[in-house]
């Protein structure tokens, strides 16, 4: 399925990636590969405590280290007005702590030295005296009257409360619940986990004191947004900042925020006049950078006795850590959590989310997820399974009975979304067919009779991705639109600049294919530039599955603008009226006279050539476009997971995983499938092993890859994929985005499978992730505990 078919030269289809020749030779250009003349190395001193007042910081010994060039503390930054920076959620975050440390791993001081080993050595020479303070670790206790106030730096902040947010009609939902035959409730935790890209975060900052220009090579999924943030933070003129991400070794949401280390590298370069590199180590990445999830949910589902789901409601405590640094559109402090009514046609739904501060790392980034869609889908898909257990209905049949039907689209859901398109039953039935669902149930019955534990889990998801319409969505006041500019050179080769930023998604390939499809230029003849802010148009970057829905749309539209200009030029060349021309891929020709035509390459040469152009037509063949999506897109899919559990050790093996995804039109199916594979593996990780836990003192228990476990090749099965295609009606090419669907859909399928395996024999009706052997065994003994 995945081996490339003969590469198409033009348009959509599986083709080899343009990026790969450099990657297989080790010629990717990642931040830590960069070596500039005179470059210095920075390292961050971090707090060992979760909550403590800083009494004093003695940097004298570190500063005296022969290879140390600068030691920077919060007090130094305060003098420059840089001790605090804005977060993506319009809160503030300490760059280097001045008054208190508020989580273990918080940035306290920054050392700049001649080499990376010396920088690390010097950290040990800094003496910080702390006065320990009581901590808030359990978000459920953050609003207790006696809880210590974490953000006493904020004027008027008298508790650890950040926000309350609601969606849906509360009263109507209560009425639906009151009338229901059955109501099932569950306490469901989506525990704190971490994107943990294989490359950690880092930057090389170079301040050119002569030209006053800052160049920052950095790990960012949103280079333009970062540039604007630096302009706002540091007061540097925005045109004098250039961000170059290079190749990024994985992001998954982790590289959306601006981190203190980046700012410190910039300050270090300004102070020393030299380029400064800062690369965090793995522990720093896990301890301090954007975590994900950490939603404590109470869900209730209402239904008739025959299994018609009528209502859903949920209250959630959202643990945002010590600074509210989630990356969400401004109007949505709980992201798109209000997609939690899922794929079902309900009478009413309501959610309430309360965000709180705790003494944990800030973040709340979308780990391979569109703004809390993952939490929402997990909730609804667990609740539907809980209802199936209660009503003793097959979970597949229960879903099929309640799906939104194709003729209901565009579907106005009860919490405010307008779903663009969907054929849910078709996807569900395809997944059941691939899985051999009825045979699996028979096999399960036989195994149960023998005392073996086998489970079959289903999840059906609807996402909302591709943020977003500027009337509804912004981050830090910046509209979530993206630009594209396309220049066709005289010889018919083209260069496309986009504001999306690839972290492995293969933009250089797929975006060339979009242009190729629209203009008929071979993909090989189209260079895609992304990342470098001096060479690309403005836009908000790549996260929330927004590249294809937003940047991809901009790309298709700019290509169509170029095509229209080509029509005018061709009309002149062919001495015909533009209205009399017809397009076939790569060529305008005269209607009714196909011999009379000009290829896009001929037109490109003419556009740049010496002869006259038709009146009013600008020379050259290029254009720009900014895409403001009229709506989000709503990818969906049906996932079926089969697990086996060792009754003696409680070890879970994911034996099979079937994933049917409908992401609309697929530009490069090979890349789409690769995205799905990767997201499924991350979903297995989240469901079975990935956890950022804390002890009662606030010490992080997931601070290395010995403790934060990521699946290897032996924990994941050979993926079984299927596809349906329901184009998005409003998207220029009908694509919906796919990168995050598998991570959204797989955890509930796996957990549902585990409960399916254990319910009859052990009475297990809920288990919180991660389903490690120990946690599963505890659940089998009837004492399942939420993760700490």
């Amino acid at each position: 399925m995945s081996t490339v078919q003969p590469s198409p030269t033009v348009g959509y289809g599986s083709m080899r990636r343009k990026e790969d020749p450099r990657f297989v030779r080790g010629q990717g250009r990642y931040i830590d590969d960069l070596k500039l003349p005179g470059m210095l190395h920075g390292a961050v001193l971090r707090s060992p405590l979760a909550h403590a007042r800083i009494i004093s910081i003695d940097t004298a010994a570190a500063a005296a280290h022969p290879k140390v060039k600068a030691v920077i503390t919060g007090a130094d930054l305060a003098g420059l007005g840089l001790a605090w920076m804005p977060t993506m959620s319009q809160d503030t975050q300490a760059v280097l702590a001045t008054d208190k440390v508020r989580f273990q791993g918080q940035e306290v001081a920054f050392v700049v030295a001649e080499d990376r080993y010396s920088a690390r050595d010097a950290l040990e020479l800094i003496d910080v005296e702390y006065e320990e303070l009581p901590v808030v670790i359990d978000a459920r206790k953050a609003l207790d009257a006696d809880a210590p106030i974490i953000r006493d730096d904020k004027e008027g902040q008298t508790s650890n409360h950040i926000f309350d947010w609601e969606a849906g009609d509360s009263e109507e939902t209560d009425r639906v619940f009151a009338a229901a035959d059955v109501v099932v409730a569950r306490d469901i935790i989506y525990p704190r986990c971490h994107p943990a890209p294989l490359e950690t975060c880092g930057a090389v900052a170079q301040m050119d004191p002569v030209m006053g220009k800052l160049t920052l090579w950095t790990t960012t999924q949103a280079p333009h947004a970062h540039r604007t943030v630096y302009a706002l933070v540091a007061g540097l003129p925005e045109h004098k900042i250039r961000i170059i991400p290079g190749d990024i070794g994985g992001g998954f949401g982790n590289k959306v925020p601006v981190y203190p280390g980046y700012v410190c590298a910039i300050v270090g370069s300004i102070l020393t006049g030299k380029p400064v590199k800062w690369m965090e180590d793995r522990s720093e990445n896990l301890l301090s950078t954007g975590f994900a999830r950490d939603y404590i949910m109470h869900g209730e589902i209402a239904a008739t006795s025959d299994g018609t789901i009528t209502g859903l409601r949920v209250t959630t405590t959202a643990d945002h850590g010590a600074f509210n640094a989630t990356a969400q559109p401004t109007k949505y402090p709980a992201g798109f959590f209000h997609i939690f009514s899922g794929s079902y046609d309900l009478q009413a739904a309501h959610c309430k989310v309360t965000g709180v501060y705790t003494n944990k790392a800030p973040g709340g980034v979308a780990y391979r997820c569109s703004f809390r869609v993952t939490e929402a889908v997990y909730l609804v898909e667990r609740m539907v399974d809980a209802l199936a257990l209660e009503l003793k209905l097959d979970p597949a049949q229960l879903r099929l009975k309640n799906f939104i039907r194709p003729e209901q689209f565009p579907y106005q859901c009860k919490t405010g979304w307008t779903y663009d398109s969907g054929e849910y039953e078709r996807a569900m039935r395809l997944a059941m067919e691939i899985a051999g669902y009825d045979d699996l149930r028979r096999e399960q019955a036989e195994k149960r009779a023998r005392g073996e534990l086998m489970g079959i889990g289903i999840a059906f998801f609807t996402e909302t991705v591709g943020a977003g319409p500027r009337k509804d969505m912004d981050i830090l006041g910046l509209a979530m639109n993206d630009g594209a500019d396309l220049r066709v050179h005289p010889t018919g080769k083209a260069v496309l600049g986009i504001s999306a930023m690839s972290q492995g998604q293969g933009h250089e390939t797929t975006f060339a294919q979009i242009v190729s499809e629209e203009l008929g230029i071979p993909s090989a003849d189209i260079e895609v530039v992304n990342g470098d802010t001096d060479r690309t148009p403005y836009g908000l970057g790549t996260y929330g599955s927004r590249s294809t829905p937003v940047s991809g749309a901009a790309t298709a539209l700019v290509a169509r603008k170029v095509r229209e200009r080509a029509r005018l030029i061709a009309a002149g060349m062919l001495e015909a009226s533009p209205d009399d021309l017809e397009w076939e891929r790569g060529r305008w020709f005269v209607k009714g006279d196909p011999e009379q035509g000009s290829t896009i390459q001929e037109i490109a040469m003419a556009a740049h050539g010496a002869g006259d152009l038709p009146e009013g037509v600008e020379g050259m063949l290029e254009d720009t476009c900014v895409y403001n999506p009229p709506n989000l897109t709503f990818p969906f899919g049906a996932y079926i997971c089969v697990v086996d559990i060792d009754p003696g050790t409680a070890k879970v093996v994911v034996r099979r995983f079937v994933a049917v995804d409908d992401c609309g039109v697929r530009i490069n199916p090979m890349i789409v499938e690769g995205q799905i594979h990767g997201g499924l593996a991350e979903g297995v990780g989240i469901a079975l092993m990935e956890l950022i836990a804390f002890d009662e003192q606030g010490n992080c228990l997931g601070g290395s890859f010995m403790d934060y476990l990521i699946p290897t090749a032996l924990e994941v099965p050979e993926w079984e994929l299927g596809a349906t295609v329901t184009p998005s009606p409003h998207h220029p090419i009908g694509a919906k985005g796919v990168g995050e669907s598998p991570t959204v859909g797989s955890p509930p399928a796996i957990v549902n499978a585990i409960i399916d395996a254990l319910h009859d024999s052990h009475g297990v009706d809920h288990i919180d992730m991660p389903c490690t052997p120990g946690r599963v065994w505890d659940a089998m003994q009837g004492r399942a505990e939420p993760p700490q």
Partner: protein, 291 residues
């Protein structure tokens, strides 16, 4: 990336040379064998030796597996991979093959050594229990010659062995028996993770009864071997009831702690379950004569 603190460094060219360096530098010196236990600790700066004696050049001299005098003799620098792939080990001490299959990962096994693992004495390390179950002895060399220690003498507790500051582990000796079988059972959260719990059993049979069984547990706060379980098996015919009773004793005699890998109850359960499984497999192997 985290990096070690500075140290002085010298490569040992022979066992004798290594011992001389150890003697000269005293307690501030550490031996670096495969490096896969010590270097991660040094990077995290949990270990900061002032002087590092690299014994990698001794991999030839101390890297061997041979049968001699009724024993399987394994040089201290024998790498995990060599143990995993050794036919002699698989034939005489299958428990080692079992364990090696689940120690760390294939790339780490290319470098890590049996001596390094035993001397690091991490409480979740597998080979200490394996050697204890096998009633292995270890040869420790110093200026005054060799000492041959039993595992209970050698392994004093977490991160602590009987190897003196100026001594080094040279060899592991595993006694061979005509009708014997052994097995190792481990539960880990993921391939390459340290054990949640593990159990090893080495069973000798004669005339239908167990003449001697070695039982040892990993990562559950047990003693070097589980004496009560061993005694319960000695002289008994192998049976499911005997195994269950011994497994129960093994579980009773350990003192696990609750952590991210599991609760006390779970680990104690595993001690029982894995001991039972190891005994079954070890006995079956002994009866099959594939040792």
């Amino acid at each position: 990336m985290q990096v070690p603190a500075p140290f002085e460094y010298e490569r040992a060219t022979s066992v004798q040379h290594a011992l001389e360096l150890l003697r000269a530098r005293g307690p501030d010196a550490r031996l670096l064998a495969g490096g896969h236990s010590l270097l991660p600790m040094m990077k995290l700066r949990l270990a900061a030796p002032e002087f590092l004696i690299d014994i990698d050049p001794l991999a030839g001299e101390l890297g061997y597996i041979r049968e001699q005098d009724g024993e399987l003799r394994v040089g201290a620098m024998t790498r995990h991979r060599a143990l995993l792939e050794s036919d002699a080990v698989a034939r005489h001490a299958t428990i080692i093959t079992d364990a090696e299959r689940v120690i760390a990962d294939p790339v780490v096994r290319n470098r890590g050594t049996i001596g390094g693992a035993l001397c690091q004495a991490d409480p979740a390390e597998d080979l200490s229990a394996v050697c204890a179950a096998l009633e292995a002895t270890v040869v420790v060399r110093g200026a005054d010659g060799d000492r041959v220690l039993t595992m209970p003498e050698f392994h004093r507790g977490p991160y602590e062995t009987a190897v003196g500051d100026a001594e080094m582990l040279i060899e592991v000796r595993i006694p061979l028996h005509p009708v014997a079988g052994s097995a190792y059972e481990k539960v880990e959260r993921r391939v390459g993770d340290w054990a949640v719990a593990a159990a090893g059993a080495a069973v000798r049979l004669h005339a239908g009864v167990i003449t001697r069984a070695g039982i040892a547990l990993t990562a559950v706060g047990a003693g070097v071997t589980s004496g009560a379980a061993e005694q319960a098996l000695a002289g008994q015919p192998p049976s499911e009831a005997t195994f269950a009773a011994a497994a129960e004793l093994a579980a009773r005699d350990c003192s696990p702690t609750t952590d991210q890998r599991g609760s006390v109850e779970y680990k104690r359960h595993l001690a029982r379950e894995l001991t039972l499984r190891a005994l079954r497999t070890a006995t079956a192997r002994a009866l099959r004569g594939d040792a």
